[in-house]
Symmetry: C2
Subunit: 189 residues, 2 copies
């Protein structure tokens, strides 16, 4: 890729970690990561203390892109209901891609099976930030219980990522309708 030629070794390692762990899982070896990044193992260990640290940094580095791809723009002045639906529309669009394997912030902690791992902590923070967005919008929209609605929306978000990621459901006609039912129940406008 033309842009990669100018990327620093650190950027190339972060990119390789994000791409390869998403495709192959967190068990991917250091050698494969270094090969894909075109960086020696020695250089990698000068930049990152361990593969674990590289993995956590790659999740951190992707977090803002994750938010940009999902959340409505700050100046998007549609009502809260539509701003929340925007997130689910984006998620559904992404889930339709053939290479979709679920949200990385769900897959990585499931794979690591270690909630104290630095990458699991980054993932949990990203999930918590999304719930906080839902809560703020739910409050703006006059939800009867913004906390509950925010947790419900995160439940739907993760469930959708999970069932689409393992190809159990293609989400068609499912998500907007379910979210709409929860909105109505919480009297969100």
């Amino acid at each position: 890729m033309a842009t990669q030629a100018k990327a620093t070794p650190r950027e190339r390692l972060l990119e390789a970690a994000a791409t390869l762990t998403y495709r192959d899982g967190v068990g991917i070896g250091v050698e494969a990561l270094c090969r894909a990044a075109g960086v020696s193992k020695r250089s990698m260990y000068q930049l990152f203390e361990s593969k674990d640290e590289l993995l956590a940094a790659s999740l951190e580095e992707r977090a803002s892109a994750f938010a940009v791809r999902l959340l409505p723009a700050a100046d998007d002045d549609r009502p809260p209901r539509e701003r929340i639906l925007h997130v689910f529309e984006q998620a559904e669009l992404q889930a339709g891609a053939p290479e979709f394997r679920g949200c990385r912030y769900l897959a990585v902690p499931i794979e690591l099976k270690d909630e104290s791992h630095s990458a699991s902590q980054v993932a949990r923070r990203v999930e918590t930030d999304l719930t906080a967005f839902f809560r703020a919008e739910a409050g703006q929209g006059g939800a009867s219980d913004p906390d509950l609605l925010a947790r419900q929306l995160s439940l739907i978000f993760e469930g959708a990522s999970a069932i689409a990621g393992i190809r159990v459901d293609n989400l068609a006609g499912l998500i907007a309708l379910t979210v709409g039912t929860l909105f109505d129940s919480a009297s969100v406008c």
Copy 2:
């Protein structure tokens, strides 16, 4: 364990595969599996063609226990609404255990990242069977759209497994309420 002493090598391998992959992930090595089962690698390869086949067989072998632990008994004559809620109550109970890491039928395909893997296929069948249970009960309960409600319930089930498994939400006060809202919207009795 006393009962393990009488188990056959095949049973011990299935048990080790189920226990260790749940705890450590599908990347667990053949040596570790054989050591835990007290079976030589040679014997393992006489019983199973590969670790992949052992993994698929272990998921298959656990499938009936999974159903027994979740589903209401056949002679449980409560209304469909309560029979469905029973599944979520059981799931919530299981999610409260300190060793809970999400449903294995969700975690294994997420980890494998290969929908054609025999273990992913077993997992998908187990998930589909659960959706079929929901659909049958939704139909019995007079749901306005039993197919939609069944997909919604599977969405909630997987979402709950996911967020509890990665410790983003403890599910307290969340699931029964959300399922109840969907029941009401579908006019289930």
